[in-house]
Symmetry: C2
Subunit: 195 residues, 2 copies
Amino acid sequence: MKDHNPSLEAILNFIVEVEKLKGVLRKTRPVGLERYENSAEHSWHVCLSALVLRDYANEPIDIDKVIRMLLIHDLGEIDAGDQIVYAAVSAQRHEQERAGIQRVLDNLPEDMAGEFLSLWDEFEAGESPESLYARAIDRLPPLLHNLHGGGHSWKENGISREQVLNLNSRIGLGSRSLWESMRRKLDQAAEEDLL
Amino acid sequence: MKDHNPSLEAILNFIVEVEKLKGVLRKTRPVGLERYENSAEHSWHVCLSALVLRDYANEPIDIDKVIRMLLIHDLGEIDAGDQIVYAAVSAQRHEQERAGIQRVLDNLPEDMAGEFLSLWDEFEAGESPESLYARAIDRLPPLLHNLHGGGHSWKENGISREQVLNLNSRIGLGSRSLWESMRRKLDQAAEEDLL
């Protein structure tokens, strides 16, 4: 048996630390479930959604980079908590989340921590094809949860039809076809007074 | 606005259908939480764990392939449910899960469904470097949950020290250093009567 391996031990600490994301609650309920979604299962859902929708990105993308981005995109919430997508995004909030992910990444070897922080910064900036696509996918599940769940989160949080349409139109920056499809569903939901 | 896009609609149905994995409960509790873990958040956790432990695989691996494998590895449980890792693995159980994932994949374009079923088969066979590593990582969180949670799942399910050591020694097939580290932790837990 080899001697104690400090790098490996630190990585195992990271693996235990990120478990806390399973306890961070979001604002929508998964389809068919009564409870609120947590940010860990959401992260899985958007990774898989990105993978199966890869052919619908506006620009050529490195899908593996998108998946890595989405695997870590919410780690800052362990310290900062989840915030509804309709809330104003402040510089302060961004810095809270960035400090949060930095604290968690501190357990990892320096080069790996740097790699993940760069990915997170790229995601947050929303300028590269990968981040535009990843951010589009990140917006999808809450819409589906509302559309299949009586618009519960829109109602609970007093979100208007205009807010839903305005904010989510950014999905089109990553995938025009996805936004066209979701826009149709939202228009239909509006006709049914769901929003 | 383009016409209705049937392929995209089918993929969106898949994205809603796989939500059900969030309702499949496993046999351990995440560190710090009272409730049982679900298979969706577990899937995220093993994807991220595989990514950060990539340098500890026994053989060179395509880590992006490993992550895709782990993203979909539990989809068969939507129909078949979760089974504790210590249960006897029967051919019948394997076929139940395979039929389950096939049903879910049926929503996807044929080539994509085939790609994912191949990945699942490769994971289940446990012969390629990627599947050996992915299967090693898949065994890690339940050990950490028990080690950080009073051995709750070992006690609840009457799992002996020998069973834990024998079954999990297969972690070494994917990562010898990871198994050495976990073996040390398990020996220490045994000294403390945790198992």
